[in-house]
């Protein structure tokens, strides 16, 4: 079982790769709308990638209002 710290790191790694950013350029507290300049649709695409990676289903309503990687990782962790 992953720890929250591991989950957070994996979320950041995956987002870094997905949006082709330099390694280590994202932090847990980063707001992904602002940091990545993405809209709600691109966020949904990112969520699908995360679901595949972690092998979970993350309903849209679970991530309603979430805009930073840390909280996102917590929501994922609760479903692992």
């Amino acid at each position: 079982m992953r720890t929250l710290e591991q989950t957070t790191r994996e979320v950041l790694d995956l987002a870094t790769k997905h949006f082709q950013l330099p390694e280590g350029s994202l932090a847990p507290e980063d707001d992904f709308f602002k940091r990545l300049g993405i809209d709600s649709l691109q966020t949904l695409e990112m969520l699908s990638r995360l679901e595949n990676h972690f092998g979970i289903e993350l309903p849209d309503y679970e991530v309603q209002g979430v805009s930073d990687f840390k909280t996102l990782a917590e929501r994922i962790q609760s479903r692992l």
């Binding site: 707001d31 709308f33 602002k34 809209d39 709600s40 649709l41 949904l44 695409e45 969520l47 699908s48 289903e57 309903p59 849209d60 309503y61 679970e62 309603q64 209002g65 805009s67």
Partner: protein, 568 residues
Amino acid sequence: MLDLAKYQSVGAALKDALDRFAREVCLIEVDREREKERLTYRDFKERAHPLAKALQDAGFSAGNRASIIMTNQSKWLISAYAVFFAGGALVPLDYKLTPDEQWQLLKHSGATILITEYPVWRQLSVSAGRASANVQTVLVTEAPSNAELEGARRWEEFRSEGEPSFLPRTRKDIACVVYSSGTGGRPKGCMMTHENYLEQCVALTSLYPFWPGVRYLSILPTNHAIDFMVGFFGPFTCGAAVVHLRTLRPEYVREAFPKYKITYVSLVPLVLKNLQKGLQARFAALPRGKRKVFNVVAINKMLTKGRPRLGISRLLLKQVHEAFGGELRAIIVGGAFTEPQTLQFFYDLGIPVANGYGLTEAGTAITVNDLRPFRADTVGKPLPGMEVRIMNPASDGVGEVAVRGKTVMAGYLNDPELTAETIVDGWLMTGDLGKFYKHGHLQLSGRKKNMIVTEEGKNIYPEDIESVFEGLPVKEFCVFAANYIWPKRSMTGERLVLALHLEQGQPYSDELRREINVRNQRLLNYKRIHGVVLLEEDFPRTASLKIRRNVLAEGLSKLDSATAVLPL
């Protein structure tokens, strides 16, 4: 379709529709690839009547208000029908607002009943705003069996036996209070009458008809005026079916078109543009041998110049149309301005986009492209029964768009002053600028009012987000739509800016900039400001010390926008 001219209320029309189309499918609910529910009009009635009876048993009666905060699903529509049946008025709220914003609007609306989903209630129930609203009964759907409901009741169990008694309403009674904006600032609760909906439905379905067998894919939130009309009232009064998706992931939305043979869908411009990009990428990736698609598009374009010819387009561009299920008649787009090249792209593929222009205050739509002929650079012609005028046009014909007709709201709830400013001599002043072309097409060219609309269809009023900056260590501040200060003949790329007046000798330090950034982050992403404008004079104020925004904006307009707006 029912003859809506004979009806006095939304509830009466829906009641008859449930009997008339009893055997037709009205709702299909899908979660990812799983179909969760398929209801006929008879099933719908059987679910809704015990709920209506329970509402009546709880004392809910004529004119009382009930709010719905839910994502798009069958229970939204069943609950709404039960409220109308019991003679109530509906307050549909956006599930994407923050809990505090939702409580503020619940309080303002005077709703005594709240119908919501468990994930929403989980956040609402612990929000401080709860104490101020007058909500007496909360019904929560889909709560886990062991969930603590914090005083709410389970929607699925809130049922009474026996037939509810239908409470008739008149055309002039309020059917819904719909908030066009106003969280934190001045709530704008549009009082929509039963007549507004009945008339709008007749006008819209005369151009884009529904009938049994038609399937509408509901993606825009149902609290939004467009989906309420074309994803509920319109299809139901014609015996058509509505398909709800519990997820809006693009891959599942794409799958739904062929799987459920969708006839109509409504989208915001952002999603439409995304679809366009996807298709363009697929065309570009085609091997050289298959590039004849471009020639076919050119042929289709030529053949559909004067009017759409669905049959021909489906034959010529078979693969494209099959990807959309082969039954798609039109994509309805609204909520914000759509770029002409996106509209043209789809029209050339033989998929007409019903591009319109509307305001919650004016019913759902004011103009819609009737496709005779298609004009991508306009928002179409006024709907039947809608009078549209350009007030005080300049030499180029551009002026403020004003609207009159039976679909215009009764006014803003509890705000006669704002109502009087907005509806002048029976004309609704839209605050949008536009002009008419000789064949009656309306072209929009900018905004006169201090607001922005995002590509996702969100209306943002600067006053509504100022509370986040309260207590900022500066002398005074004010948020503006940049286009309001520096008018631009454009309906896209709108931004908010923060005007700051610092204390004497106070520098615009990194610390202050950071503070602004931190506060800005507390706002939902689409509500954030994009820059700061520094001003060295006192803000003009009224006798009661309110900022005179129009005068301040005029002063700011003398600055050069290219250099005056400092990025955050």
